[in-house]
């Protein structure tokens, strides 16, 4: 490389503070011996400072709020989406990017729905039904003890194979005016409504 060009490169690096001590000493020696180099360095510093001052002045004079407002005014206005459109977009994104999450969520919902139906059917069949405490007066709740095993009717009975007393709740009793009603739960866990004529 031409020694002059090499010195100019070093001078540029010197201005930016990037030289080793040895290179720095070399540049300073050259500056002392060559006034043109010193003049070049002076020009560079002046030019750099002027540019920086100009940019700073331009930045200070910039109204950010007005600029952003103007920019937004030039942007196209996003149309408001209907619920159906948003749902459609959500559905498409879920299917495209998160199909496993969607499938697992769907499976969980199916388990809840089918499981709920199954439990409802179980409750109807007496399997696991727990009586809810009634609000009405004259209430008997059952059962509190495990129900006995089903027993067939003796003597060739035909109609009913099991009489296991289970959950029962008396919700309302309206005896006729000439009758009294007593409601209780017997020791077998069945609700009993005992009626007798009113004593006059």
């Amino acid at each position: 490389m031409d020694p002059r060009n090499e010195l100019l490169m070093l001078l540029s690096a010197y201005r930016d503070g990037e030289l080793t001590p040895a290179e720095k000493a070399r540049v300073e020696q050259a500056l002392a011996q060559d006034p043109s180099l010193a003049l070049r360095l002076s020009d560079w510093n002046a030019l750099s400072g002027g540019v920086q001052a100009t940019l700073q002045q331009a930045g200070d004079g910039l109204d950010d709020a007005a600029f952003l407002k103007g920019l937004q005014a030039k942007l196209p206005v996003a149309p408001s989406l209907s619920f159906g459109t948003r749902l459609s977009i959500w559905w498409s994104e879920m299917v495209q990017f998160r199909p496993l999450s969607l499938a697992s969520g769907f499976a969980a919902a199916a388990v809840l729905v089918l499981g709920g139906s199954y439990l409802g059917a179980q409750a109807l069949s007496g399997g696991g039904a727990v009586p809810v405490a009634p609000n009405a007066p004259l209430i008997a709740e059952a059962p509190k003890a495990p129900p006995p095993a089903p027993q067939p009717l003796g003597g060739g009975a035909t109609a009913v194979a099991s009489r296991t007393p289970k959950a029962s709740t008396v919700r309302e009793v309206k005896p006729h005016p000439d009758h009294d009603a007593i409601v209780f739960e017997n020791h077998a866990g069945a609700s009993v409504i005992f009626l007798r004529p009113t004593r006059k």
Binding site: L102, V130, R171, V192, F194
Partner: protein
């Protein structure tokens, strides 16, 4: 492919939603067993056919029991069935609805004696007791059981 998957998942979800109400639907009718037992405080035999109800009757101071009849009636929702009692009165069994806890709501009434609303799980019983018989000391016990 994405569209196809989307359609399949959507159809499966739709089928589930359509099918679930059907699974939770209330039965159109229920079977109710009505048993009529005559009890007396006089010493006497205990009908072996009453044995399944013995537990329910032991709390009373009656000594002899006789199974008069037993009948299973199918009651449609919103409808009712009647069963004649030995004292000349009639027991009416109405099927009102299915409660949230899955038990069946029945309305039981004996004309001129009582009207009552009960909730029964399958196999659950309520005993209507005490309607006096014309001939003195015997009384009736009427266990009403929601058939399993």
């Amino acid at each position: 492919m994405t569209t196809s998957l989307s359609r399949r998942i959507f159809l499966a979800l739709l089928l589930t939603l359509v099918a679930s109400p059907a699974l939770a639907e209330e039965p159109a009718q229920v079977s109710v067993d009505v048993t009529i037992v005559e009890a007396s405080k006089k010493d006497g035999p205990v009908d072996p056919r009453v044995k399944p109800f013995q537990d329910q009757l032991d709390d009373f101071a009656y000594k002899s029991f006789k199974l008069v009849s037993e009948k299973r009636v199918s009651v449609p929702k919103g409808g009712k069935q009647t069963v004649g009692l030995p004292n000349g009165k009639t027991l009416t069994v109405g099927y009102t609805k299915v409660d949230k806890d899955g038990r069946v709501r029945l309305r039981l009434a004996i004309d001129g004696v009582v009207s009552t609303s009960v909730s029964l799980a399958k196999g659950g019983s309520v005993v209507l007791g005490g309607p006096a018989l014309p001939h003195g000391e015997s009384v009736l016990f009427v266990p009403v059981t929601l058939s399993k």
